[in-house]
């Protein structure tokens, strides 16, 4: 993976073609009749310098892909961005990325270009996706001027929609991971969190198939219905 990215960056610097063309970056796909069981889904998690999307920055990107109902380890994204100028003293205690690791990271521009190409416009899933969506869209816009909207799906919303009776004791990633007995290898590491999120997504897709939810469109419909139901409860 790393070798692959290094190679690609080398090629890009040498000015050869083959790298993502900034003019022809992949176009995001909309949620249509793609079957959940065989389409490719990106499951992503970002580590940031803080919680405020207007002033904080992305420092690490971890993502895995679900393809044909499986997470293939040769199709993943795990990068720490090069942002030495950032003050990360506040959050370093949470995600453990210190200044040294950041300087060894990759040029943000290169990394985001590669991420876009790797994602290939596929729908992006994340846990509390609103947070990741804000940070990623901001980074893409500011660094690359890329403004096309990806299809985002919130795993935190999918889980209770398909497992309404689950006694998780909370709505966090940790609660659901515990509920399914998952072992998260390194909590608050972008890639590890993405992996845990993807594992939960596999469980959701499995359950969805049994509920006759087979396409992305079905899934969106189901989530919409779930939201309405929740609102009804809230207001009723």
């Amino acid at each position: 993976m790393l070798e692959q990215i290094k190679d690609w960056i080398e090629r890009l610097r040498a000015g050869s073609t083959g790298g993502p063309d900034r003019e022809h970056l992949p176009t995001p796909k909309t949620a249509g009749d793609q079957r959940l069981s065989d389409c490719r889904l990106i499951v992503l998690d970002l580590e940031t310098t803080g919680l405020n999307a207007s002033k904080d920055e992305v420092i690490a990107i971890g993502a895995v892909a679900i393809n044909n109902n499986a997470i293939a380890m040769d199709d993943q994204f795990d990068l720490i961005l090069r942002r030495p100028e950032l003050d990360i003293s506040e959050t370093v205690l949470i995600h453990g990325i210190g200044p040294e690791a950041l300087t060894r990271g990759h040029e943000t521009e290169d990394a985001l270009l590669h991420l876009l190409e790797w994602m290939n416009g596929d729908p992006i899933l994340a846990y509390h996706s609103v947070f990741d969506q804000k940070f990623l869209e901001k980074a893409l816009r500011q660094t690359l001027g890329y403004t096309q909207p990806h299809t985002w799906i919130d795993v935190a919303e999918m889980l209770p929609a398909f497992f309404p009776d689950a006694k998780t004791g909370g709505r966090g990633l940790d609660n659901w991971a515990d509920f399914f007995g998952l072992e998260v290898s390194a909590r608050h590491h972008a890639a590890a969190d993405a992996m845990a999120t993807a594992e939960l997504t596999l469980a959701v897709i499995n359950k969805a198939r049994k509920n006759d939810v087979t396409t992305l469109k079905d899934l969106n419909g189901k989530l919409k219905y779930y939201r309405q139901l929740k609102n009804m409860h809230r207001h009723g």
Partner: protein, 638 residues
């Protein structure tokens, strides 16, 4: 390609999978590079409670799985009521399905998730790569397949059987053959009436029984022919006087192979099948056993055993080869076939000796000894002579005087055997060699010198002289000699250690990378199945056998005895026997193919000519040889 990335450079999720793998066998013993290869090529799947993970309907298994979390349950339908029963449970860190994956076949068991389950899996080509490169991984997979080699054997037999269109194999118990209700009579019935009864029933034999239906004799059309031709008596003679007494009997549980060997040895065409109390329950004939195979083993043995001219014996050798061909095609295992060849060779040797005694009796009581592969009863079609004479010195004669009489006789026998296809021994290990035509006392001295002066040359000879057997003449003198020799070796640790050291000099042809090590000969890659493949087994097993007072010379039997005595772990002994037999089977098949192409026989094969399964099996068999040699190294601290 750049150097393998350090652990810290690997993606977090790859590292996490490696950490998980390291907690479980066989991954805990695997190199990091192999673990990383596994992790980088793995994919993770989820199965809800009750989901089917693998099914017999899925076709040949393509993936290797390990349970990351949860549990997998094996389900098989019971024959009786069609209900399913759980045959096994696979939990976290355990791998499946091994036998089906290695056998490249569908699984026989439905694999179902029990509770929410995550499995990591790798594709077939990643599996093959790890299987071929990682020793701990391969060991684990093969150990998991308890009787992989068994299955291969069965597959060879099944395909051979399919082409012949018979479901009977030589392992089939006699009770499964259509045992005919035999025609019986009492001993006082006149021959004329007995023959009339045979005629009425259209059979070739009649069994004579006592009042409790115990067989006392048998009378066949051949006996009738002899009786008439040699005018042994009138047709109203009571049959009890002309029958063959004490007919060969086997119980219904004995297998066809036993029956065939008994028939070949005694030249009988019929065997009575009896119950535990020796009551006659049926009859099998040579034709029943071999009707489908057209393998005329018994008749061939009989023809050899009664041949009246050397010429006939020589011409019969092609029949032996044809017979071996048929037996291999019929799926007889290599152990059975080498025994058949040895039996037929023994019959030939005996007949050559008998014919020569008839012509020119040296008048000295002697035992004809065979050494080496013939001594071990492990002969194939490619065989040379290794023989000697153990004689008893008649009163009033010196040993040299006896030799004067025996040596010319032995020389004629050696030459005639050569004409029958037993190549003259290049090392002159033959009865016509004055050094190998000895009295019991001389042989004993010979062995004392042999054991005490363990010269390198002696050690080379150990593979010949320490595997001996009597083929002709009284066996007691040899038994007495063997007794003394074994006792002496058991007491001589130094000799044992030297034998052991010699036994491990010939390494099985595996390089550290588990590919074959070839003998270079021209362009073709050559593998010597006898010297590189079988010899490591034969030699290591011999050391253990001699050191532990096992008198048998046959390698498979030696292993049985060593397992009985607790020297070998029964599972190890079994694995080694299988491995040895498979190499032998591949060697014999190669011989038959050479005969077909009218090429001279050799023990060399090009592994590229083998199918992938045979190649893998051969490699695994060689690895077993390596394990056996390692046991020797440990035992003798070499």
């Amino acid at each position: 390609m750049t150097a393998a990335p350090q652990d810290s450079e690997r993606p977090q999720n790859t590292r996490a999978i490696m950490t998980f793998l390291r907690e479980h066998s066989p991954f805990s013993n695997m190199d990091d590079a192999h673990l990383a290869h596994f992790a980088e090529h793995a994919s993770l799947r989820f199965y809800g409670d009750g989901d089917v993970v693998l099914s017999p309907e899925d076709g040949p298994v393509k993936r290797f799985y390990i349970v990351k979390q949860g549990r997998i349950r094996g389900e098989r339908a019971r024959d009786k009521d069609g209900e399913t029963e759980t045959t096994f449970e696979i939990s976290q860190g355990e791998c499946f399905p091994l036998a089906a994956l290695i056998g490249e076949r569908p699984t026989r068991t439905l694999h179902r998730a029990s509770g929410d389950t995550f499995c990591l899996s790798i594709e077939h080509d990643t599996f093959v790569m790890l299987f071929s490169q990682s020793d701990p991984f391969r060991d684990f997979c093969l150990r998991g397949v308890s009787s992989l080699l068994d299955q291969v054997n069965q597959r060879i037999q099944t395909s051979a059987m399919a082409s012949i269109g018979s479901s009977n194999s030589l392992d089939t118990p006699l009770e499964r053959y259509a045992i005919r209700n035999p025609i019986v009579c009492s001993p006082d019935l006149p021959v004329r009436k007995a023959v009339a009864r045979m005629h009425e029933n259209n059979v070739g034999s009649i069994v004579i029984t006592d009042d409790e239906r115990r067989p006392t004799g048998i009378f066949t059309l051949r006996d009738l022919r002899t009786m008439v031709a040699e005018e042994k008596g009138p047709l109203d003679t009571p049959i009890g006087q002309v029958m063959t007494k004490e007919p060969c009997c086997l119980t219904a549980q004995a297998d066809a192979f036993e029956a065939a060997m008994l028939m070949a040895e005694h030249h009988f065409a019929h065997i009575c099948v009896v119950d535990d109390e020796n009551h006659l329950i049926g009859m099998v004939s040579e034709r029943d056993l071999f009707s489908l195979q057209r393998v005329d083993l018994v008749n061939l043995a009989r023809t050899i055993g009664t041949a009246s001219h050397l010429r006939t014996l020589v011409s019969l050798r092609t029949d032996v080869s044809r017979l071996v061909d048929a037996m291999l095609a019929h799926g007889a295992d290599s152990g059975q076939v080498v025994k058949i060849i040895t039996t037929l060779n023994d019959v030939t040797v005996r007949r050559v000796l008998e014919l020569n005694i008839k012509k020119n009796d040296p008048g000295i009581p002697f035992t004809w000894l065979t050494f080496g592969s013939e001594g071990r009863q492990e002969q194939t079609l490619l065989t040379d002579q290794d023989n000697g004479i153990l004689f008893q010195t008649p009163d009033g004669m010196t040993e040299d005087q006896v030799r004067e009489k025996l040596l010319p006789f032995a020389e004629t026998v050696n030459n005639e055997l050569a004409e029958c296809g037993f190549t003259l021994c290049k090392g002159n290990i033959m009865a016509s060699n004055p050094k190998l035509c000895l009295s019991g006392r001389e042989w004993d001295d010979w062995f004392i010198r042999f054991i005490d002066a363990s010269t390198p040359q002696n050690l080379v000879y150990s593979s010949i002289f320490l595997d001996m057997r009597a083929v002709f003449g009284p066996t007691e003198p040899l038994d007495a000699l063997l007794d003394k020799v074994l006792t002496r070796i058991r007491k001589n640790d130094l000799f044992q250690k030297m034998l052991a050291g010699n036994a491990i000099t010939r390494k099985p042809p595996l390089t550290m990378f588990r590919n074959f090590r070839y003998v270079q000969e021209g362009k073709k890659k050559k593998l010597d199945l006898k010297r590189q493949g079988l010899a490591p087994f034969v030699e290591a097993v011999r050391v253990f056998a001699l050191a532990n007072g096992v008198g048998e010379a046959n390698t498979l039997e030696r292993m049985n005895r060593l397992a009985e005595k607790g020297i070998f772990d029964p599972k190890d002994a079994n694995a080694w026997q299988e491995a040895y037999s498979l190499i032998q089977a591949i060697r014999m098949r190669a011989h038959q193919e050479m005969l077909e192409r009218e090429e001279p026989l050799s023990n060399y094969i090009d592994p590229d000519d083998l199918n992938p399964l045979d190649r893998r099996i051969l490699r695994e068999s060689f690895r077993q040889a390596q394990r056996l040699q390692q046991k020797l190294e440990v035992t003798y601290q070499l």
